[in-house]
Amino acid sequence: MRLAVEQAAPDGYALAAHLLGNPDDAADALQDAVLRVFGSDSYRPSEGAFRPWFLAIVRNRCLDLLRQRRRHPRLELDETELASDDANPEAAFERDEEASLVAAELAALPAAQREILILREYLDLSYAEIARVLSIPPGTVMSRLHRARSALAARFRERGIR
C-alpha cells in the first residue's frame, strides 16, 4: 500500500496544485488524502486500479477545502519551477514563457474543465479512469473533455498561443 501511495502521490499533488491553486494547499490536501488512505478509506482491489481511486480521494479533499475556504481557485505556478535546465537558454526561455501563458489560460477556465484537462492531458488517464475519478458515467467523459479542450483552444486563439 505504501509503495502504491508513493507512486500515485506526485499525480495527486499535481491535481491538487491545479485545483487549489497553490503548492501549500496542495500539500495539505495530499496529506489529508494520504491519512485517509491509511485510516478510514481502505482500498479494495475490487474497486479497480489504485491510481484513479487515490486521485478521486485527493479530488474530493480538494473540493472540501475549496468549499471550506470559499475562495476562487487560482493557479499560482512558481516561475522558478518552470525554469528549464535546457542547454539552450533562449529556446528554454521561449518554451517556459509559453508554458506560463498556457498555465495562465488553463487557470482561467472553470474548475470542472480544468480538472478534466489535467486528468487527461497532464496525468494521461484513460476515459474509464477519468470517469472513476470524477464519478461520472464513462460515456460523458469524451463530451466533457471536448468542451474543455474547445474552451482552452478558443483562449489560445484569442491570445495567439501556438
Partner: protein, 149 residues
C-alpha cells in the same frame, strides 16, 4: 462548404477528441479519419485540439518536496500505529475491567464492603474521565497548538 458537409463536421467534431486520445472503436475511428482526410476545416480543428493536448501535457508543475513527502508518510504511519495502539489499549482495559466486575459480583463479601469498593472505583473513574474531557477540550480549542517555537 455545403450544408451537408457542415452537418458532417458538427457530427464529427466531438469525436476528434476521441480520435486524439485513441478512445474510439475501430469503425468510428476509420469514419472520422476518412472525413478528416478530406476536410480542411476538421483537419485544422484537430490541429487546434492537438495544440491544447501538447500545451497542457508539457506544463511543469512544482514537484512535491521530498522532505515534505517523507514527513507526510511518517505522520500517516505514526497515526495508524497510534490508532491501533489505542484500540488495543482500550480493548485490553475493558476486558480486564469486565472480568474484575464479574469477579466482584460473584465475590462473597458483605454488601457494605462491596458497595464501598464500587463507590471508590466509580469515583476514581469519574475523576479520570473529567480530567480527560478537560484535556480534550483544551486541545481542541487551543489556538496556539500549531505554533512552533
Amino acid at each position: 462548404m455545403t450544408n451537408d458537409q457542415t452537418a458532417d463536421c458538427d457530427a464529427i467534431d466531438e469525436l476528434l477528441s476521441g480520435l486524439l486520445d485513441g478512445e474510439l472503436t475501430q469503425g468510428t475511428r476509420q469514419r472520422v479519419e476518412v472525413h478528416v482526410g478530406g476536410c480542411a476545416r476538421c483537419t485544422a480543428r484537430l490541429t487546434e485540439l492537438k495544440a491544447v493536448h501538447v500545451g497542457v501535457r508539457d506544463l511543469r508543475i512544482a514537484e512535491l518536496d521530498r522532505d515534505v513527502w517523507r514527513k507526510m508518510m511518517n505522520d500517516a504511519t505514526a497515526r495508524t500505529t497510534s490508532g491501533i495502539g489505542w484500540l488495543l489499549l482500550i480493548g485490553g482495559v475493558l476486558a480486564v475491567l469486565g472480568y474484575a466486575a464479574y469477579e466482584w459480583l460473584l465475590a462473597d463479601t458483605t454488601p457494605l464492603v462491596k458497595w464501598g469498593v464500587a463507590a471508590i472505583y466509580s469515583g476514581l473513574g469519574a475523576l479520570l474521565l473529567g480530567v480527560l474531557r478537560q484535556r480534550w477540550i483544551a486541545r481542541k480549542t487551543d489556538r496556539y497548538k500549531d505554533v512552533e517555537i
